[in-house]
């Protein structure tokens, strides 16, 4: 693993009823965002995904400035990230396969469905998938474009232990291929099992911690 800084975040975001202050540098590997409910983890992912715009500060990924408050803002669709939001946000009118073909070729979609174990469910719409299957589909969608920055918000909360381990391996493989994964969880054992580094959140302040 390289220790070259890839993602550098020093940003503040004020939204109605919440102030987020985020400061960390992430190298390759899995960076766990850890903290209690409503401590700002999800908002931090939205900010890095480009769904919110920083009030002050900056976000840089390698040479690219994603957000520099007043000056620069790379819109969500140009950031080249993969994003799996907390409750999946699956498209109700599209089958599992169509979730992926919206973003990539049929061949790559089939390959990814196999990776997350959804080949048999490929023609089902989300309403016909179990909670765990929906999460695996959401993960597959985030992986579709082999993003260098993967943003996963409580991606395994509905999975059984076996599936949790298998999907953990999928995410680990992706990180090994040179991606940075930001992984939100409030589950301490999952955090310690998967995390190469930790950003701990408390009352809207997210900062690097050596351990949790």
């Amino acid at each position: 693993m390289s220790d070259v800084p890839r993602l550098v975040v020093d940003a503040r975001l004020h939204v109605p009823s919440f102030d987020l202050d985020l400061q960390f540098t992430a190298t390759r590997g899995i960076v766990v965002f850890f903290g209690p409910t409503a401590s700002g983890k999800t908002l931090a992912l939205r900010l890095i995904a480009g769904l919110e715009r920083a009030t002050s500060g900056f976000i840089r990924l390698g040479e690219q400035t994603l957000d520099d408050a007043a000056r620069t803002f790379a819109r969500a669709e140009t950031r080249g990230v993969g994003y799996a939001p907390q409750h999946g946000a699956l498209w109700p009118h599209r089958t599992a396969r169509e979730h992926l073909t919206a973003l990539t070729t049929l061949a790559r979609a089939s390959e990814l469905l196999a990776v997350v174990g959804l080949e048999r469910q490929a023609d089902r719409t989300p309403v016909h998938l179990s909670g765990g299957e929906r999460q695996r589909l959401s993960l597959a969608r985030a992986l579709t474009r082999s993003a260098k920055l993967l943003l996963l918000d409580e991606p395994f909360s509905a999975l059984h232990d076996d599936a949790r381990a298998a999907m953990g391996d999928v995410v680990r493989d992706h990180a090994k291929r040179g991606a940075t994964v930001l992984f939100v969880t409030h589950d301490r054992s999952e955090a310690t099992r998967l995390g190469d580094a930790f950003v701990v959140f408390r009352d809207g302040v997210g900062a690097v911690a050596d351990a949790i």
Partner: protein, 213 residues
């Protein structure tokens, strides 16, 4: 049944205008946070709340031979709108547009923004997001709006009579019912009315099917 043929020839061109423009207005109303939104929102309702005869009279003033737009159309292109089939289409479109716009607004408001955000955050551009996510999800609601607008256009009476008059080219089914009655041709008034009732009930059933999807 030529009255229905006349009705169709007037309503279909009106809908060809109302559906795309109304859907675009509805999208703007659902998504815009600009100051312009409040103005558009108020203006779009005007033809719905005014008496149809006033809508027809306003069209006559603007698009009539002496009107600011009507006189320009006549001198530049030799087009005389008043008392033509096109005038009836314009009257029908004017009264149907608010229903399409407000219906489309409701359809687009119901699309969960998170479904669009996840598309964009995974690399889809705004147009692809609209085509693959927003539009398919809003489609049943747009179907309801289109049906309501079509029914309103089909039932148009007051604005049509005021602006387009009653002639062979503008004798739509609702106008025919009224003038058949005036002539004492009860059989014609009754048969046309019955067909209109059956068509409306059919459309209402269609609406129900759409809105249940």
């Amino acid at each position: 049944m030529s009255a229905f043929w006349v009705s169709l020839r007037i309503v279909l061109p009106a809908l060809a205008f109302v559906v795309p423009i109304g859907a675009a207005l509805g999208f703007f109303l659902a998504r815009s946070r600009s100051a312009l939104r409040a103005i558009v929102d108020s203006l779009v309702l005007v033809p719905l709340v005014l008496p149809p005869s006033v809508v027809g009279y306003a069209l006559l003033i603007v698009l009539g031979r002496q009107g600011p737009l009507g006189s320009v159309l006549e001198t530049l292109f030799g087009v005389r709108l008043v008392f033509s089939g096109a005038a009836a289409s314009i009257a029908a479109a004017t009264v149907a547009l608010p229903l399409m716009a407000k219906g489309a607004e409701a359809a687009f408001v119901r699309v969960d923004r998170e479904l669009e955000e996840v598309a964009m955050a995974n690399g889809l551009g705004p147009w692809a997001t609209f085509r693959l996510v927003t539009l398919p999800i809003a489609l049943p609601g747009l179907g309801v709006a289109t049906t309501l607008a079509a029914l309103r256009a089909l039932g148009e009476f007051g604005a049509t009579l005021t602006f387009a008059g009653y002639s062979a080219r503008t004798a739509t089914a609702p106008l025919e019912v009224y003038f058949a009655m005036q002539r004492g041709d009860d059989a014609r008034a009754l048969s046309l009315s019955l067909v209109l009732v059956v068509a409306s009930v059919g459309a209402a059933l269609l609406l129900r099917a759409w809105s249940r999807r």
